[in-house]
Structure formats: C-alpha cells, structure tokens
Symmetry: D2
Amino acid sequence: MAEKHYENAMKALHECMEACNYCFDSCLKEDDVKMMAGCIRLDRECADMCGYLEAAISRNSPYISELASVCAKICDDCAEECAKHDHDHCQKCAEACRKCAEECRKIA
Amino acid sequence: MAEKHYENAMKALHECMEACNYCFDSCLKEDDVKMMAGCIRLDRECADMCGYLEAAISRNSPYISELASVCAKICDDCAEECAKHDHDHCQKCAEACRKCAEECRKIA
Amino acid sequence: MAEKHYENAMKALHECMEACNYCFDSCLKEDDVKMMAGCIRLDRECADMCGYLEAAISRNSPYISELASVCAKICDDCAEECAKHDHDHCQKCAEACRKCAEECRKIA
Amino acid sequence: MAEKHYENAMKALHECMEACNYCFDSCLKEDDVKMMAGCIRLDRECADMCGYLEAAISRNSPYISELASVCAKICDDCAEECAKHDHDHCQKCAEACRKCAEECRKIA
C-alpha cells in the first residue's frame, strides 16, 4: 500500500524486524547467553525501530526521513554486533541489518 | 523467519497493518472527514494491534494466542466500519481486515 | 526507575503522550473534524514517538539522544498545529508538547 | 488526562513498564545472564504490553477491557518469574507486576 518509492525500504525493514526478533529469541536459548547480551539488547532496539518506521511509512508520516536516519544507525550497530557471532541466526541478522541500513539511508 | 505455522498470519497481519494505515492517511484527506471519524479511530487501533502481534510472533512470544484473539476482534470491527464506506481505500482495508481476522482466529 | 538525569524528560514525555492521545480522541468527536485533520495526524505521530522514547529511556537504550532529537521536532510541530485551535484539549496539548520539546532538547 | 476511572491503572501500568524495562537492562548486565533468560524475555513482553495498554487507555480505545485481560496475565507471569530471583531489580519488578496485574483485572 505504501508508495512505490518506499517499497524496497518497507521490505528491508520488515525482514530486518523479523530477523532481529528471531535472533533475540534464539540468543536467549543459547548456552552462553552472557556472550550474547549485547546482541540481545541491540536486537530489541533494532526490531522495535524497524517496526516503528514500517508503521510510520505506511501512515505517510511527515517524519520518515528523520526516523530513517536513526534507524540506519541502529541497523549499522546491530549488524556490527551480530557479525561477531558465528550462530546462524546472528549471521542472518547481520545481513538483514546491513541491507536495511542501506535502504534506510536512501530514504533518510 | 517466523515458524512455518505462522506464515499466513504474518502475511495477513502485515497487509492489514499497511491497509489500515493507508486508510487512516487517506481518510484524513477526504472531503468529509467527519463521516470517516469512526474509520480513522479503528484504522489506528487495528494497525497498531496488527503491528504489535507481528512483532510478538517474530520474537516467539508466549502470548501469541491471547493477542491473536484480541486482534481478531479488532479486525472484525474495523472491517465492519470500513465496509460501510465506498472509498477504494476503505473497501481494500475491509478486505484486508477480514482476511486478517480469519488468520488470527486460526492461531488464537 | 530511570536515572535521575532523565526524570524530567520522562515526566514530560508521559504527560505529552497522554495529552496527545486525549486530543486525538477529542478531535475525532468535534463537530468540524475536517478542520482538525492536521491535529489528528500530528497527535498520533507525537503520542507514538513520546511513548517510544519513554520506553527507550527506561530500558537504557543507546539511542536516547538521537530519538530525543526527532521527538523534539515532532513535539514542536504538534504544538504549533494544536496552538491554532481554541479547543481546550488542543491548547492543553500544545502546552504539553512545548514542555516536552524543551525537555527532549536537553537530552538530545 | 485519562478518565478518573483509569487513573490507578495508568499509574500501575507506567510503573510496571519502567520496572520491567529497568529489570531487562539490569538482567543483561548480571554475571549469570543465562539464569536471567526467562526474566529478560518476560520483562520485554510485560513492558511492551503495559506501554501499549497505557497508550490505548489514553486514546480512549474501545478495546481496553480485552487488552487489560491479556496484560494481567502477562504481569502475573512476569511477577512469578522475577520473584524467583534475589536481585533488587527483580524483586521490585515482581512487586510492580503484581500491583499492575491487580489494577488490570479491575478494568478487564
């Protein structure tokens, strides 16, 4: 429903929200949860912001650009943290975050 | 990323969130906004709840069933209100809400 | 629970979220809803962002500063729009938004 | 701004949201994060739902009762989990959750 202009961003945001929340859940089930603490924290930050921005875009918010700029930063940080861990859910999350950061910068 | 079991629900929730927020934005631009007041209110309720449930499913929340039950009710009400209006955005929103209500009941 | 440093901001954000949502509800019940369309839209934007930032502060988010900067801008815009209308709920909302914008700038 | 009827619930929800998010942050900093995994998960569930219900009450949502019923259940579970741990943040969170569950049941 969102304008064509935002189609790629909407897709990337949605996949990033899902990947971050899946990673959050998976990190909490790992043997070494302590090692994943930074990842758990950033997964929540990133999933929440991506979900927030998705909703903002779909309601034609006047603040898409400002929110996308913050979201890109959060995605960058989450990608960097997740990339440190070998778990499949972390590697996939890092990849989703990188793509999303890129799309966010295009609309920021 | 969400489990197979929830795939249809995730898709329906996402489309419903987008349709409701698009309808919210469009209703605010109509000539007769007063006639759309009920629609505007329910569009926000429904979009917010669908977005909330999407996030809950993707983080493997223990409360998917309870939330889906509330969401189905909100979708039903929003579908009923939107169906009263001829605007294309309302008719499409009603359809998205009906599908979403159905999927929510399957996972409730 | 949030650190002392954020106490005033938390209070202002909470009061602003409540004032904006009360104004949203009240605008939808006014006789001339069309005149309130801009207010309704910004009330939602502002209430959602204030609620988001409150939660972010309380979980010690690393992004409080960036989010507060966006929130200040949204509060400014909502204050400006609400101030145009004589309704008591709009005037009170404008005042809550102005206070909140000020507190947000302190932590941005 | 919310109606008198909901004043106690609003206060309890807000304190519970803050206590849960503070506990979430504190659990992630504990030595034994693994032992806190259940707490971390429920803190997020509970904080998010309390914040959602606060917003719903303040916008005069037609679904306060249904949401309060789900929120009471989540608060009960979070109180039970937090009560198992001796950390001050867990004990305070358990207390806030118990109070909030009680207030939610009054408006459910």
